[in-house]
């Protein structure tokens, strides 16, 4: 009867006290009740803490309130340090990762010829590639050397070394309504195929030749 009456009178005070000093452990719930009663509703709660204190002292006769408080304080200090480290790490990585990723994004924007497979109309792809670049850099790869080979390994079954697969862009002007000719020819026909490519009226002549 007494406890229910006290809770009806002052529930918000109880909640706020719990939240501000929220490091009390369960074993010291008796002391919490005592402090609450002494701060807020001293007279009404007096009977209840005394009962719980007695019960707790009967169960654990060796425990002392002061020793419990010291342990709690040490625990609070250690936990505070730990959480501050976690917060600092989170803030640092939250700042560092976008900056480094966007740095590569800017690099790709300045040098679009680094990646021949990215479409011009997909800026999001640039960002993803930038992050991939950065991750590969952290893993110890040199992006400029390995990026082409890694992409090529995804799209073709051929083992194309970077030195073997070289694309040469002779001119960058084209109309998207033009037609691209992809030609496979042997080196024996290279002269005729070069003439053929020169006569091709479309925007882009792509020629494959085999070196014998």
């Amino acid at each position: 009867m007494v406890s229910s009456g006290s809770l009806d009178d002052s529930p918000p005070l109880t909640l706020s006290a719990l939240s501000t000093s929220g490091s009390f452990s369960l074993s010291s719930s008796g002391s919490l009740q005592t402090r609450l009663s002494s701060f807020n509703s001293e007279q009404r709660l007096r009977s209840l803490p005394s009962v719980t204190d007695d019960l707790e002292k009967q169960a654990n006769p060796n425990t002392d309130d002061e020793v419990d408080g010291d342990d709690d304080n040490r625990q609070i200090v250690v936990e505070n340090r730990f959480w501050w480290l976690v917060r600092a790490f989170v803030w640092f990585s939250a700042l560092f990762f976008p900056i480094s990723a966007l740095g590569d994004y800017g690099f790709l924007l300045r040098h679009p010829s680094v990646d021949p497979f990215s479409g011009d109309n997909e800026p999001g792809l640039h960002l993803v590639r930038g992050i991939e670049f950065q991750l590969m850099g952290w893993l110890g790869y040199s992006p400029s050397l390995w990026e082409n080979e890694r992409l090529l390994s995804k799209i073709t079954t051929l083992d194309l070394q970077p030195s073997r697969f070289r694309y040469s862009i002779f001119d960058g002007f084209y109309n998207s309504h033009d037609l691209t000719a992809c030609v496979w020819s042997n080196l024996a026909d290279s002269n005729s195929s070069l003439e053929w490519v020169q006569e091709w009226p479309g925007g882009l002549g792509a020629k494959r030749s085999q070196l014998i």
Binding site: Y167, D171, H177, L179, T180, W184, Q198, W200, G203, Q210
Partner: protein, 165 residues
């Protein structure tokens, strides 16, 4: 092997040149896929072999007219005459596909080192995937070309002589 000089190619043109050592073997379909991948235009014409009878300007006009007539999902194949309306097409028939078409040339017969068989497999792949929806256009002047390996040889090599494909 050096790439040709810039002045050997006309100015308004981009050209990718890939020189391969002979040790890599012939993988025409794989390289045609690769060429299609790096192309910049919406429509790509795959030439498995340069046919001397097919002049570039005439071939270009054939395919260029076809881009206005047909939808982007329909590949256009150039055949020797009007009688050919379905598979098998003429050997080394050039094929125009949309660059972003989900179908790509099959490379499973590249080990035979026969460009005509590999290209026939590619045409067959498109023919199957599009449910026969390839649009054949006939060139005005027929070209003469001989396939280096006929299909019977391939069937014998695969040990499936009685299975039509």
């Amino acid at each position: 092997m050096e790439a040709p000089l810039n002045n050997t190619l006309p100015k308004p043109r981009i050209s990718y040149l890939v020189y391969l050592k002979s040790s890599t073997g012939e993988h025409p379909n794989a390289y045609l896929n690769l060429a299609r991948l790096v192309s910049q235009t919406h429509h790509v014409i795959l030439f498995p072999k340069l046919l001397p009878d097919l002049r570039p300007a005439i071939t270009f006009s054939h395919f260029h007219n076809a881009t206005h007539l047909h939808s982007r999902n329909t590949p256009v194949v150039l055949t020797t005459n009007r009688k050919i309306s379905g598979f098998p097409f003429s050997p080394f028939s050039p094929l125009m596909v949309h660059r972003d078409d989900p179908t790509w040339c099959d490379e499973r017969f590249d080990f035979l080192d026969s460009p005509s068989v590999a290209w026939e497999e590619c045409l067959w792949q498109f023919w199957i995937t599009k449910h026969g929806g390839l649009q054949p256009i006939a060139s005005k002047g027929p070209w003469k070309v001989v396939a280096d390996v006929n299909r019977t040889t391939v069937r014998r090599a695969l040990g499936c002589q009685n299975i039509p494909f």
